[in-house]
C-alpha cells in the first residue's frame, strides 16, 4: 500500500510535467511556428488598431450595418462569458424575446430567417446564414444609398460555402461583411 502511494504520487508529478507543461508548450511552439495568425486569435486590424477577431462576432445595430444574431453572452457578444440562452423550446421568456427580435428585424411582411432571431450556442457566432444576409440587404441599400445589386454582390462575395460542397452550412461572416461595406461606401 505504501509503495502504491509513493508510486502514485511520483507518477502524478512526472506525468503532470509531461502532459501539463511539456505537451502544451510543444503544441504552443509548433502552432506559432506554423500558424501564428490563427494561434493568436485570427485578429483583424484596421489602421493599426485591433478591431476584432474574424472568429468572434460583434453586435451591430441601426440601419447602416448587417445585424448579427441575438447573443446570450454577457450583455451581448462578450467573449469573457460565452454561452447560449439555455431557454427551452417551451419557454415563454424565449417566445417573448423572439417576438421582440422579429419586430426589430422584420421588413414588410416577409417572415424573418430563423437564425437572425435566435441566439447561438456560443453567444459569439460570427456568422449569419445567406438568407439572413439577403434579408437585410434592402435596409442597408436604402440607408447607405447603394444600389441593392451592389449590396447583394457584396454578400455573395462573402458567403463561405460548404467544405468540399458537403460539410457544414453556407454562412456569411458579419464583421468582415460590414468592414467590406464600410470600405465600399468610402470609395
Amino acid at each position: 500500500m505504501k509503495k502504491t502511494l509513493i508510486t502514485s504520487v511520483l507518477y502524478t508529478i512526472v506525468t503532470a510535467i509531461l502532459l501539463g507543461l511539456a505537451y502544451p508548450m510543444l503544441v504552443l511552439g509548433l502552432s506559432h511556428l506554423l500558424f501564428p495568425h490563427q494561434a493568436d486569435g485570427s485578429l483583424i486590424t484596421r489602421n493599426g488598431k485591433v478591431v476584432g477577431s474574424a472568429l468572434i462576432g460583434q453586435a451591430f445595430s441601426g440601419d447602416m450595418y448587417f445585424h448579427s444574431r441575438p447573443s446570450a453572452a454577457g450583455n451581448g457578444y462578450d467573449p469573457t462569458a460565452s454561452g447560449g440562452s439555455n431557454l427551452a423550446a417551451t419557454s415563454s421568456a424565449l417566445i417573448t424575446r423572439i417576438d421582440a427580435s422579429v419586430a426589430a428585424e422584420k421588413i414588410g411582411n416577409t417572415p424573418v430567417p430563423v437564425d437572425l432571431v435566435t441566439a447561438s450556442g456560443s453567444g459569439l457566432d460570427p456568422d449569419i446564414s445567406p438568407a439572413a444576409a439577403y434579408y437585410q440587404a434592402p435596409r442597408i441599400a436604402q440607408a447607405r444609398h447603394l444600389p441593392i445589386s451592389t449590396v447583394n454582390r457584396l454578400i455573395e462575395d462573402h458567403i463561405t460555402q460548404r467544405l468540399f460542397g458537403l460539410l457544414g452550412e453556407p454562412h456569411v461572416n458579419v464583421l468582415e461583411l460590414n468592414l467590406a461595406l464600410d470600405s465600399q461606401s468610402a470609395h
Partner: protein, 592 residues
C-alpha cells in the same frame, strides 16, 4: 431533414467504421507488447518514466491490486488539481489575475475531471488561469482517458486469460495508453485545429475596439436598469488547441471556454467539427475491434459494433428529425430548410456554420460516448431532440461509449445477455469459453443498478427541495424536471454535458453531483474489475452445439433488446413526465 444532411451523416459513420479496424488492431499491438513503428522514440521514454516513478513493469497485479493502484493514483491527481485551483492566484500563467477557486467548486471540478465527466459548474474564461487549464485540467483529460483504456484492456485480459489470478500491470497499461495512443494523436489533431483557427497562446485577453459601439443594458441589484455605451470587446485567449484535441479524443468534453465546442475558438469550421466528432468515436469504436482481436474472435467485435451502430442511428435519426422541425410557438419566422440559403429548423442555441445536421450529429455522438462536449445548447433543443442525448446517457453510454468505459459497459450488458439466453434454453451461460456464474451475474447487476439508483435518487431529493433544488431551474413546466434529471444522468454517466440552464454552482449541486460522478465511475469500476478477476481464474469450456454464439445477428439483436429493455424499464416513467410530456404540450400550444 435534407439530402446534404444525410450525406454528411453517412460520411461520418462510414469513416468511423473504416477507422475502427486499423485503430483497434494498433491498440491490440500496443497492449500485447508487440512492435509498433513508434517504438524507437517511445520505448526510451517509457523506460525513463518507470525509472523515475519506481514502477516494475514486469509485476503482474490481481484485480484488487489493479483496482487499488487505480484508486490511489486517481486520488493523487484529484489532490493536485484541487490544490492548483485553490492556489492559482499565487502561481504563474495567470495574466488575468483570476482569484483562487472556491472550495465546493474546486472539489466538484477535481472530481469531475478525474472521473472523465468534465462537468463544469463554472465559466472557464472567467474562473480558471492558464496554468490551471494546462496543469490542472488538460492533464486529467489524459489521465482519466488512459485509466479508462487500461481498465478496458484489463477486462479483456480477464476474458482471455485462463486459470490465472492477474490482469496485467496498471502502470504499464496507463503509460502505454498515454504514450502510444493519446499523446501522438493529440499533437497531430491540435495542429490541424490551429490551422483552422483554434487559438493557442499564453497572451493576456485582447482588447478590440468595436467597429460600432454598442449599447449595453444591465439591471442592477436594486432592480434599476442602466444603459451604458460599450466601445471595446475583451477577447479571451489561452492554450486552447492542446486541450481541445485530447478533450474529444479522450471522450472528456470539458470546454476550454464556457460555450465548449460551440465557441468559435474551440471549433471554428465545419472541418474541425467533423474531426472533433470523428476523434470522439476513434478509440471507443477501435476498442471493440481490439476486443475481437485479443479474444481471437474478430466477428464478435463486429457483432458488437453492429449493435452500437444501430443504436447510434436510432439516436441521430430522432435528433436530426426533431431539430429540423419548426417551433410551432414562433410567429413570422422562416424556419424552412433551403440548400443554398439556410438550414432552418430549431436554431436557438446552435451555430450557423454547423446548422441542424452538424449540431444534431454532435449531440448524439457526444452522449453516445461519455464525452459531453457540446457544439449547441442541449437545453434549447426541441423536446424530442433533447430526449436523445438524455436517453443515450441513460442507456449507460454503451453506444461506442467512453474510452474504455464504453467497452467494459457493453461487456457487462453482454454478460447479462448471455445469462438471459442461458436461462431461456436452460444451460449454464458461457461467454467466449468462460462460464458465467452467480458471482459474475451479481456483480453485473450491481454495475447496472448503481447507475439508476444515484440518478433517480438524487433527482427525487432535488425535486423535493423547493429552494435548494428547484431554485436553480431556469425553465419551468416539464422541462424543469428534464434539467434536473439530465444533470444527475450526465454526472452518473460521467458525460458532463448539461441542460445548462440549471444553475449547478450551488453547494447542494456541487457536492451532490460530485458524489454522483464518484459513484458513477468508481462504484461501477469495482464490480467490473471483480468480474474480470473472477473470469481470469476460470478454465476454458470447449464450445458445444449448445453454446450461444456471440458472433451472429441473433446475438446483435439480443444485446440490442437487453440494452433497450433495461434502460426503458428503468427510466421510462421519468422520461414520460419530462421530454415526452413537454413535446405534447408544445404541440398543444403551451409555453411556461
Amino acid at each position: 431533414m435534407s439530402l446534404n444532411g444525410w450525406l454528411q451523416i453517412t460520411l461520418f459513420i462510414t469513416l468511423t467504421l473504416l477507422l475502427a479496424k486499423p485503430m483497434g488492431l494498433y491498440m491490440a499491438r500496443v497492449f500485447e507488447g508487440r512492435r509498433t513503428w513508434l517504438d524507437p522514440v517511445l520505448i526510451p521514454c517509457e523506460r525513463l518514466l518507470y525509472r523515475l516513478t519506481g514502477v516494475n513493469p514486469n509485476e503482474e497485479m490481481r484485480w484488487t491490486e489493479y483496482c487499488v493502484a487505480m484508486l490511489v493514483f486517481t486520488a493523487a491527481t484529484v489532490v493536485l488539481t484541487y490544490v492548483i485551483q485553490r492556489l492559482q492566484v499565487y502561481l504563474p500563467f495567470n495574466p488575468q489575475h483570476l482569484p483562487g477557486v472556491a472550495p465546493a467548486l474546486a472539489l466538484n471540478t477535481a472530481v469531475s475531471f478525474s472521473t472523465n465527466t468534465n462537468w463544469q459548474a463554472y465559466t472557464p474564461e472567467s474562473t480558471m488561469s492558464y496554468l490551471t487549464q494546462m496543469l490542472g485540467l488538460a492533464t486529467h483529460n489524459f489521465w482519466s482517458a488512459a485509466t479508462g483504456i487500461a481498465l478496458a484492456i484489463a477486462f479483456i485480459r480477464g476474458i482471455v486469460r485462463r486459470e490465472m489470478k492477474t490482469l496485467g500491470n496498471f502502470w504499464v497499461d496507463v503509460t502505454r495508453a498515454t504514450l502510444w495512443i493519446l499523446l501522438p494523436i493529440s499533437i497531430v489533431l491540435a495542429l490541424v485545429y490551429t490551422s483552422q483557427g483554434v487559438i493557442d497562446n499564453l497572451k493576456p485577453y485582447t482588447t478590440a475596439t468595436l467597429v460600432q459601439p454598442m449599447t449595453a443594458t444591465s439591471t442592477g441589484a436594486d432592480g434599476k436598469t442602466t444603459t451604458s455605451t460599450v466601445t471595446t470587446q475583451t477577447i479571451a485567449q489561452g492554450p486552447t488547441a492542446s486541450q481541445e484535441s485530447i478533450k474529444e479524443l479522450g471522450t472528456n468534453g470539458g470546454g476550454f471556454f464556457n460555450a465548449n465546442s460551440a465557441h468559435p475558438f474551440e471549433n471554428p469550421t465545419p472541418l474541425t467539427n467533423f474531426l472533433e466528432m470523428l476523434s470522439i468515436l476513434l478509440i471507443p469504436a477501435g476498442l471493440v475491434v481490439t476486443l475481437g482481436k485479443m479474444v481471437g474472435s474478430p466477428k464478435h467485435g463486429w457483432a458488437v459494433l453492429a449493435c452500437m451502430t444501430i443504436l447510434w442511428f436510432l439516436g441521430v435519426f430522432t435528433c436530426y428529425w426533431a431539430e429540423s422541425q419548426p417551433n410551432p410557438l414562433y410567429h413570422n419566422v422562416d424556419q424552412s430548410n433551403s440548400y443554398m440559403l439556410q438550414s432552418g429548423g430549431n436554431m436557438e442555441g446552435k451555430e450557423v456554420r454547423f446548422g441542424i445536421t452538424g449540431s444534431a450529429l454532435f449531440a448524439t455522438v457526444t452522449t453516445d460516448t461519455s464525452t459531453g462536449a457540446v457544439n449547441s445548447m442541449h437545453d434549447s433543443f426541441m423536446p424530442l431532440g433533447g430526449l436523445v442525448p438524455m436517453v443515450n446517457i441513460l442507456l449507460g453510454e454503451v453506444i461506442f461509449g467512453g474510452v474504455g468505459s464504453g467497452l467494459y459497459g457493453i461487456i457487462v450488458f453482454i454478460i447479462i445477455s448471455v445469462f438471459i439466453a442461458g436461462l431461456m434454453v436452460g444451460r449454464t451461460p458461457e461467454y467466449l469459453g468462460k462460464k458465467i456464474e452467480a458471482f459474475d451475474v451479481k456483480m453485473a447487476m450491481l454495475f447496472l443498478l448503481i447507475f439508476p439508483l444515484v440518478i433517480l435518487g438524487f433527482s427525487a431529493v432535488s425535486l423535493l427541495m423547493p429552494n435548494i433544488g428547484l431554485g436553480s431551474l431556469s425553465n419551468h413546466g416539464p422541462h424543469g424536471l428534464s434539467e434536473v434529471l439530465y444533470a444527475y444522468a450526465s454526472a452518473a454517466g460521467n458525460n458532463g454535458s448539461a441542460f445548462a440552464g440549471l444553475n449547478a454552482n450551488t453547494n447542494w449541486y456541487n457536492y451532490s453531483l460530485a458524489v454522483t460522478m464518484f459513484f458513477g465511475r468508481f462504484m461501477m469500476i469495482v464490480p467490473m474489475l471483480a468480474i474480470a478477476g473472477n473470469l481470469a481464474g476460470k478454465k476454458i469450456t470447449p464450445e458445444t452445439a449448445g453454446t450461444f454464439p456471440v458472433t451472429t445477428p441473433t446475438f446483435t439483436v439480443l444485446l440490442l433488446s437487453v440494452i433497450i429493455i433495461v434502460g426503458a424499464l428503468t427510466f421510462f416513467p421519468a422520461l414520460s413526465l419530462g421530454p415526452v410530456l413537454e413535446h405534447l404540450l408544445l404541440h398543444a400550444g403551451h409555453a411556461f
